[in-house]
């Protein structure tokens, strides 16, 4: 167990410290007094667990490949940008454009998220990313989605809409699960809304068991409400766009 005091530290120095610690084999790292430093965990590899105390800055876990980051506060924009593998757990709200182009690993958020979350996620059979949002999401959730799994729970939404407009616009792969009802008017034209089947419930239970454990929630409570499944209606949503 290693502690790093990030108070007043420049991001480049802080990240170098974290990288050195991970490279020297430190498995359990706590970073205290974080206050908006960019790029924590950027391009980081290995299997270490890094606990962040304080609010980290933008591009947290960008291009990350392996480690687990636990954020005990809110977080900002561009988290898990093009992340490859690993896990990010945020015990709070987070900002815009989370998981852009994400290729694998997990992003678990307890609270609400902003616009364009989970856009252009990718996936192949062996490697696919999962983002689970406990609260609500803004517009363009899952835009251009090409693979992976997005789960939106809308817990404690106090009557606010679970998700904004243009849900899944341009989707051509992957799957989005939304807890509760989905209004077709909020969705992109490329999205089909289905009821979940047994296979989906299996996927949901598996992902949500881990999520609930991370967040200290009850799986039964989360699964009480029904889910809707959103998938692309076409592999080539723009196949007829061109004359020749």
């Amino acid at each position: 167990m290693l502690e790093i005091n990030a108070g007043g530290m420049y991001y480049r120095d802080l990240n170098q410290k974290i990288r050195d610690a991970v490279n020297s084999g430190e498995k359990d790292i706590t970073v205290r007094n974080v206050n908006g430093q960019y790029y924590i965990g950027d391009g980081l590899r290995g299997k270490s667990t890094i606990t962040v105390e304080g609010v980290p800055g933008n591009d947290l876990a960008a291009f990350m490949d392996g480690p687990t980051l636990v954020i005990r506060a809110n977080a900002q924009d561009n988290i898990s940008n093009t992340m490859n593998t690993g896990k990010v757990v945020i015990h709070g709200n987070a900002g815009d454009v989370l998981g852009y182009g994400m290729r694998g690993g997990k992003l678990h958020i307890l609270g609400d998220v902003g616009y364009r979350v989970g856009i252009h996620m990718k996936g192949v059979k062996k490697q696919a990313p999962t983002i689970i949002v406990g609260g609500t999401a803004g517009d363009f959730f899952g835009e251009y989605m090409a693979g992976g799994v997005l789960i939106l729970l809308g817990l404690n939404n106090d009557g606010r809409p679970i998700v904004g407009d243009y849900l899944g616009t341009g989707m051509h792969g992957g799957v989005i699960y939304v807890r509760g009802e989905v209004d077709k008017n909020n969705c992109g034209a490329e999205v089909g809304i289905l009821d979940v089947d047994d296979e989906d419930v299996k996927v949901l239970k598996e992902s949500l068991t881990e999520y609930c454990k991370d967040m200290g929630l009850s799986l039964d409570e989360v699964m009480k409400k029904g889910f809707k499944k959103l998938i692309p209606v076409s592999l080539r949503p723009y196949g007829n766009l061109y004359a020749y």
């Binding site: 990240n15 591009d59 990718k122 490697q127």
Partner: protein, 502 residues
């Protein structure tokens, strides 16, 4: 299905007297123009794109491809393409696509610029017998350098140099992805880059493992689709390029059509087989110069501070944008003019958006000099470099190096037919069909591309020799050695070039 009211552009014809029915034309045509009719070769000429593959492989020279003499009535205002596009759009409701750079007759400033030469008062240099330096370093240069004396009494550079990309000559290959071109075509580029001491660029489609041996000559690209981007990829090459825009299609994203996404390409991009690979118009994590800076440094953090290039299309306000890019921390600004090539772009975008590269180089170089930040980044100019003369003029206007793509593809057989987006390229370049890509033997064609680069290298040296200078560095931004022919005062002012005769 009714017959299209857009008549075929070309007529594929076979001289039946000469034809020996060997069927090589049927095998070679990727477009399905020819088929076997039992006793003779049948021709569906509406599919012909005049790529001339059949012509070259006909052993009897029996094939002739002619422009269709049956044209719409000639009209100086309503051009052939206007009518043809309207008719095709009326039939399909779609957007006409095209490959290659724009072929419309806009003014070509390269052709209105002439290079100086020495006579009597200053001696020219013979590059065949005297050293001639083309070596180019791309990257940030310090605004001043300090030296210190080492223990051995010799002077040593004290200033820590930012990372530099070393080129044997100021020509690199423009980004073309695995998907848009075949893996064999990428191999040709990689092999030639290695042999010539220059660089190729992966484009946005990941780095195939077959290219790993060439990593010292590769720039990897990150664009809005983020295809193939992971920490290994970012660290695989010598630099990383963020692609914001492309000269042929400024401001719009990319669609690699599903026809060009077989299993191997799908795997490299991590998307389903046969879907269109969508690169969104903007990168949604970049809405400002500040956001660009954030991505530049996210990449630098992930690569232990490798040089980062930012590629933009040349647009009206290119100088201010380039200034922002330099201030955002880019090591290289890559400018792509509107003549730049493409694998697929709506022709309406390709032919009507952006500005020519000649204007852009001059404007950006001026602006960066005025702001005192020209040393902070190198400029790569691309978008229609057709010869070493274009390259020399681009460098004299202010570029550090030029990038070529179409010229490189022409060495592989390309005849600029402009149908790259169909995935049927009969020369095996812009296709993923295995029977077509197998035609492009990387070793054979790498040699041709190496020949081209060496030829241009000799030509550049001859130009420098005629100018009486012995290093490309002395030509860089040296607009005094250019003169304009037939250009108006305002354009001369923009280019910072005197008219011929002055």
């Amino acid at each position: 299905m009714f017959k299209s009211l857009a008549p075929p552009e070309y007529l594929a014809t076979i001289d039946r007297e000469k034809c020996i029915r060997c069927k090589r034309c049927i095998q070679n045509c990727g477009w399905g123009v020819y088929s076997w009719g039992g006793d003779k070769v049948l021709i569906n000429t509406s599919k012909c794109v005049k790529c001339l593959r059949c012509y070259h492989y006909c052993p009897e020279e029996a094939i002739e491809i002619v422009d269709n003499p049956t044209r719409f009535k000639q009209n100086a205002y309503w051009g052939y393409n206007h009518l043809r596009n309207i008719k095709r759009q009326a039939e399909t409701g779609g957007i006409p696509l095209t490959g290659m750079g724009s072929d419309l007759p806009y003014t070509i400033l390269f052709d209105s610029l002439l290079i100086d030469a020495c006579q009597v008062t200053n001696p020219s240099i013979d590059p065949l017998r005297e050293p001639m330096e083309l070596r180019t370093y791309l990257g940030k240069k310090p605004s001043s350098v300090e030296f210190e004396k080492g223990r051995d009494g010799k002077l040593k550079l004290k200033t820590k140099m930012p990372p530099q990309l070393k080129l044997s000559l100021p020509i690199i290959f423009s980004p073309m992805s695995f998907g848009s071109i075949s893996l064999n075509a990428q191999k040709v580029l990689a092999m030639a880059a290695k042999e010539c001491g220059i660089l190729m660029n992966t484009g946005e489609g990941g780095l195939h493992e077959d290219l790993f041996p060439y990593r010292d000559n590769i720039i990897v690209q990150v664009a809005s689709g983020r295809f193939g981007v992971n920490p290994d990829y970012l660290n695989a090459g010598v630099a990383v390029e963020i692609k914001i825009g492309q000269g042929a299609k400024p401001g719009i994203g990319g669609h690699l059509p599903g026809e060009k996404i077989p299993l191997e390409v799908a795997r490299a991009r991590m998307i389903p087989v046969g879907t269109d690979a969508i690169s969104p118009a903007p990168q949604h994590d970049i809405y400002s110069i500040e956001d660009l800076r954030q991505l530049i440094y996210a990449i630098k953090e992930a690569t232990n501070y490798k040089p980062v290039s930012v590629k933009i299309a040349a647009v009206h306000n290119v100088a201010a944008i380039a200034s922002g890019i330099v201030r955002a921390g880019a090591d290289i600004v890559y400018l792509d003019g509107f003549r730049g090539g493409t694998g697929a772009a709506p022709s309406i975008i390709r032919d009507h958006l952006g500005i020519p590269i000649e204007h852009a180089i001059a404007a950006v170089d001026d602006r960066l000099r005025q702001e005192g930040i020209r040393n902070e980044a190198s400029i790569i100019a691309a978008g229609g470099i057709r010869s070493s003369a274009d390259a020399a003029k681009a460098i004299a206007l202010g570029a550090d190096a030029v990038a070529i793509a179409t010229a490189a593809l022409i060495t592989m057989g390309c005849t600029t037919c402009g149908k790259c987006y169909t995935g049927n390229c009969s020369w095996g370049i812009t296709t993923q069909r295995p029977e077509l890509t197998a035609r492009l033997d990387p070793e054979v064609y790498a040699e041709r591309l190496i020949n081209l680069i060496h030829a241009w290298e000799h030509e550049l040296k001859e130009i420098l020799g005629a100018l009486g200078i012995n290093a490309i560095e002395s030509l860089r931004g040296n607009r005094e050695r250019l003169r304009g022919v037939g250009l108006d005062t305002q354009i001369l002012d923009i280019l910072g070039v005197k008219p011929a005769g002055r």
